[in-house]
Symmetry: C2
Subunit: 156 residues, 2 copies
DNA sequence: GTAGGAGCTTGAGTGCACTCCAGCGCAAGG
DNA sequence: CCTTGCGCTGGAGTGCACTCAAGCTCCTAC
């Protein structure tokens, strides 16, 4: 992090660490228009002002929630139009917000499905039954809870 | 759907429709060991018994929540060991459950980030300001809320 | 002054998870 | 008998989103 005349800026490495993107990915995002061109220092290196770092965070949130690269590109392109595109940018974000809500619902469903299955196994083990409802022989039951048996299947 | 001697079975198409996977994907899953081999009818076609359809649903939930193909394969391989692997299967599912919980937290964060940005735009528009806090000229403001301006940039 | 380290650009390569296709079989309908 | 439709297998192809590599420039520190 460096503070010079125009304000506080950070280098690409720091942005990478804070955003969860790799350095390569950050450069690739910029090339592909998923991020505006970062201003360069006198040595030609990217210096990210705070504004841009915040923007990176937003873009990461959008990508992580499944917005396709093309849509992010569109969103970024709109920032070139300044205030005139605020409405359209907001619309894009609102669409994505709907997506996220859908994902949340889906995730909750999937969590429930997995949870039920876990519960199912727990009951079977507790009751000493196999999947067909037949009793499990004691030697098998003894082995039932051992983790990671190293998938070594009767090595000679 | 067909009901014959051993119970109710469905064809691959129906399974695809109910699971959200494509027919091709279902076949690919089976080939790759993400699903147990489906029993075939007398004509050599896959007939999915109810048990298997339920299993497909579980696998879809696992994949959709980001479990890598390799882990699903492992999970499916464990089913070959019958009741003896119940504990290990449960452990895999529990690990995935933790993942899902993390994703839910992440998703909530991302939703908040997007939501805040939307709110930010809403405020700017309402106040008639641009991103720098300067007032927006009326001609720009008039255009601010038009959706999808067809990205036609001063076509001659 | 030179060795090391970070970053730059451009372009090629990679991994995952399917998707598509050719060439075939089978069964029903006309 | 022939077509239509669905499904089968094995293998090749695809799309997305990076990731990696080569060859370069800077700066810093010894």
């Amino acid at each position: 992090m460096t503070t010079t005349g125009t304000g506080t800026t950070v280098g690409i490495r720091e942005v990478a660490e804070h955003s969860g993107l790799s350095v390569d990915a950050l450069r690739w995002y910029e090339r592909e228009g998923l991020l505006p061109r970062a201003p360069r220092g006198p040595d030609g290196r990217r210096r990210y002002p705070e504004r841009l770092v915040g923007f990176v965070r937003l873009v990461v949130a959008l990508r992580r929630t499944g917005m396709p690269v093309a849509d992010v590109r569109e969103f970024v392109a709109l920032t070139d139009d300044g205030a005139a595109s605020h409405g359209r940018r907001m619309a894009l974000l609102e669409r994505q917000r709907e997506n996220i809500l859908r994902q949340q619902a889906q995730l909750a469903d999937d969590l429930a499905a997995v949870g039920h299955k876990i519960e199912h196994y727990r009951e079977l083990i507790a009751a000493g039954l196999d999947c067909e409802g037949l009793p499990v022989p004691p030697d098998v039951a003894a082995v039932q809870c051992l983790p990671t048996l190293q998938t070594e299947r009767t090595a000679s």
